[in-house]
């Protein structure tokens, strides 16, 4: 791999070099079939796929950044923002759907003012849509920071979110 294609490019920010280089070093060969394992390893190590990481993975494998971004966005497992203090999962599995999880998701989106895959500006919440979390008896179900909330109705969503906001504020104080 030549110098130019391996350089970090405009996505680079100084400081986080070592962790990323360490992950890439575990895949020394530039083979395109390593792309997904590398994306997984980088997300494992950094919690999400930063722009810098994507540009450098592309350089490492000799692939265009557009392609790496395209592959990464194809899979739900990859995220492009760091997770919030509380990751909110809204279940959109069949049982939850039947019990009205679409309206719940809308209420959460409105409450947090973010779309799935995004993190609130204050970093308190991130929102994730999941297919089924295996708690169909509690439908519709959401989790926040690992806590389960059962039989959530849209008008209850704000109160739930508020309790986590308060926790974040208390911790900060």
């Amino acid at each position: 791999m030549s110098q130019t294609t391996a350089s970090a490019g405009p996505g680079a920010t100084p400081g986080s070099d070592d962790k990323l280089a360490h992950v890439l070093a575990t895949f020394p060969e530039a083979k395109r079939e390593y792309l997904i394992p590398i994306l997984q390893a980088v997300q494992e190590s950094q919690g999400f796929l930063s722009r810098e990481a994507i540009v450098r993975i592309a350089g490492h494998l000799g692939l265009p950044a557009s392609k790496v971004f395209g592959v990464a966005t194809f899979y739900n497992q990859f995220r492009f923002q760091s997770q919030g203090r509380f990751n909110v999962q809204v279940c959109r599995g069949t049982a939850c759907h039947v019990k009205g999880s679409a309206a719940v998701l809308n209420a959460v989106k409105r409450g947090l003012k973010v779309e799935p895959g995004q993190t609130t500006r204050d970093g308190v919440f991130s929102l994730e849509v999941v297919a089924c979390i295996g708690a169909c008896g509690l439908a519709p179900v959401i989790t926040a920071g690992g806590d389960f909330h059962a039989a959530v109705q849209p008008d209850k969503v704000n109160r739930i979110l508020q309790s986590y906001r308060k926790r974040a504020a208390d911790d900060a104080a």
Partner: protein, 573 residues
């Protein structure tokens, strides 16, 4: 050859080929949206579905290999109805704004809707909504009009080796976009415009703003000069129903005068000028141990390609500006002086087969003080649009000649329009510069033709010159990788961004008709065969420019007006 049954008739097919190819040769028209000749099929759009006896479902003919004795129905009710439904579903997520679309009249969706008799909106629902990307100086991307056929993605990656576009996301959320879905201006896009020519819809088009030009034409205080690139006169006719390969230079000059341009110049003149400078630069590098191989610098997409992917080869690029920029510079320099016109009162327009020329004209290096060499670039397509807008009837025009002092060109300058043309012109003049004699046979056959990479060894005096001619940036990438890996035999390399050169440029008429490209190329060769002045150094207007103003090639004045420099670029790549 094997035999297959299509619509109860026997036709021939080549073993191993896809069904679509055999159908096309037999004159059976099956519509396609995603098919690209010479690239592997993707089967993405499903428009080409046909009925094959024994197959459980309709099959995409583009990706279905032929089989001896197979029975095919291409236009059964079932097949046609399926195509129509596919189209109706595409239209359900398409903005209904044909009248306001840059591709009104040249849109493949539009003509399919007509052919398949779509008269009702049978499917309605939410439509995707995206921002239009106008960040590029050359291209506009309107993702709402994208039907996800993937042709732009493939031409960018497989033909041009740039790969600034890819599919983003999945399912109904899929879009085509750049890395991080950002503007083209921060991507590795080289503005070549090949994506526009393959796009079946208005999702990709050129930046088109020519009001400033119309205002300048209307302003009696402004002198408006237009130049026309060599590849335009052998192509523009196609926009007006003239057969491919007809040279309409004379009619074009007349049309431009009708549009109100004060002076009509020929970029072929500055192509000759480029040869004088670039040929001298090559000889200088050869004789003084300069950086080799020297790379041509006429094609602005290629320049950006080197700046972002191969910055270590920037010193290999010729410092010569492209013919477009040279002509702009001499118009605002020499011509302004000679005519005693304030250069600030001159508006320079160029008609180019190219979208990257718009990017080039806006480069900071191409502006002296606050004066740009070129004020506005029109593509071949845009000029055709303006000619129609102004109601000019080509059939009623009489041929006219271009204006002095920049209307005269050699046929070598005209050859610039095809891949290999710069090389052929440069070899002719380098031979004269080195030996003082003309070549016995001016035609340099090995650098002619549409092949992607051509190499030749040419004897120039005592020197054996190893040259390469490349078109299509994926081919350029191959050659540059060889050089990176240590290949050292080459002295001079011509690179054209678009496959085949400017005759197949990103600003040319929509579509990828290889036969038309061949006809345009033959037209340039015919001009070269039939004209008297066939070497750039014998162009009397160029000789006069040197005697009156520039002195000699590579002089201080030349360097000030005709040469430039490049810089490494950081882009998302």
């Amino acid at each position: 050859m094997i035999q297959i049954q299509v619509n109860n008739k026997t036709i021939e097919a080549k073993p191993g080929e896809m069904l679509l190819g055999a159908l096309r040769r037999a004159g059976i028209q099956v519509p396609t949206l995603c098919n690209m000749e010479e690239l592997l099929p993707t089967g993405a759009c499903r428009m080409c579905v046909v009925e094959v006896e024994g197959a459980p479902a309709l099959v995409p003919s583009c990706a279905f290999p032929v089989r001896e004795g197979m029975k095919v129905k291409t236009h059964s009710q079932r097949a046609v109805r399926a195509r129509k439904t596919i189209l109706e579903l595409l239209l359900a997520n398409h903005p209904d704004d044909c009248l306001y679309c840059p591709r009104n009249g040249s849109c493949e969706l539009q003509s399919l809707a007509e052919n398949l008799g779509v008269r009702q909106r049978r499917y309605t629902g939410l439509k995707s909504q995206h921002k239009i990307d106008t960040s590029s100086p050359s291209l506009v991307r309107d993702p709402d009009k994208c039907i996800l056929c993937g042709k732009c993605v493939r031409v960018c990656e497989e033909v041009q080796g740039v790969a600034c576009l890819d599919f983003i996301g999945r399912g109904s959320q899929t879009t085509v976009g750049t890395a991080f879905n950002q503007g083209l201006n921060v991507s590795s896009c080289v503005a070549c415009g090949q994506c526009i020519r393959v796009c079946p819809t208005g999702a990709l088009s050129e930046q088109s703003h020519f009001r400033a030009m119309l205002n300048a034409i209307d302003d009696p205080e402004m002198t408006v000069c237009v130049q026309v690139a060599p590849a335009v006169s052998v192509t523009l006719g196609e926009e007006f129903g003239i057969k491919p390969g007809a040279d309409i230079a004379g009619l074009l000059n007349a049309a431009l005068r009708r549009l109100g341009f004060d002076y009509v110049f020929d970029t072929g003149f500055s192509a000759d000028l480029t040869i004088m400078e670039e040929g001298s630069e090559l000889v200088h590098r050869l004789q003084n141990g300069g950086r080799l191989p020297m790379l041509t610098s006429c094609s602005p997409g290629w320049i950006k390609f080197v700046e972002q992917f191969y910055p270590e080869m920037i010193p290999n690029l010729s410092t010569c500006k492209s013919p477009q920029q040279m002509l702009g510079a001499v118009v605002k320099g020499y011509f302004a002086e000679r005519q005693k016109i304030d250069p600030a009162k001159i508006f320079t327009v160029s008609v180019m087969p190219c979208t990257a020329k718009k990017f080039e004209a806006g480069r900071a290096e191409m502006v002296r003080g606050d004066m740009a060499d070129i004020d506005l670039v029109l593509t071949t397509r845009e000029l055709a649009r303006i000619i129609r807008m102004r109601g000019i009837d080509f059939n009623a025009l009489e041929a006219e000649t271009a204006d002095t002092p920049f209307g005269e060109r050699s046929s070598a300058g005209k050859l610039f329009g095809a891949t290999g043309g710069v090389m052929e012109a440069a070899i002719r003049s380098a031979h004269f510069l080195v030996t003082g004699k003309e070549m016995e046979n001016l035609k340099v056959q090995p650098v002619r033709g549409l092949e992607g990479i051509k190499t030749a060894t040419v004897k120039v005096g005592e020197v054996e010159l190893n040259v390469a001619v490349v078109s299509g940036l994926a081919n350029a990438r191959k050659l540059l990788e060889e050089i990176r890996a240590g290949r050292k035999d080459l002295h001079f390399i011509e690179v054209m961004t678009c496959p085949g050169g400017c005759i197949n440029g990103g600003g040319q008429p929509i579509g990828t008709d290889l036969e038309a490209v061949k006809a345009r190329m033959q037209a340039l060769y015919r001009i070269d065969r039939e004209e008297g002045v066939r070497v750039s150094h014998a162009n009397p207007s160029v000789q006069r420019l040197y005697s009156e103003w520039l002195g000699k090639p590579m002089s201080d004045v030349s360097h000030k007006y005709l040469h430039t420099h490049y810089h490494a670029r950081e882009v998302l790549k």
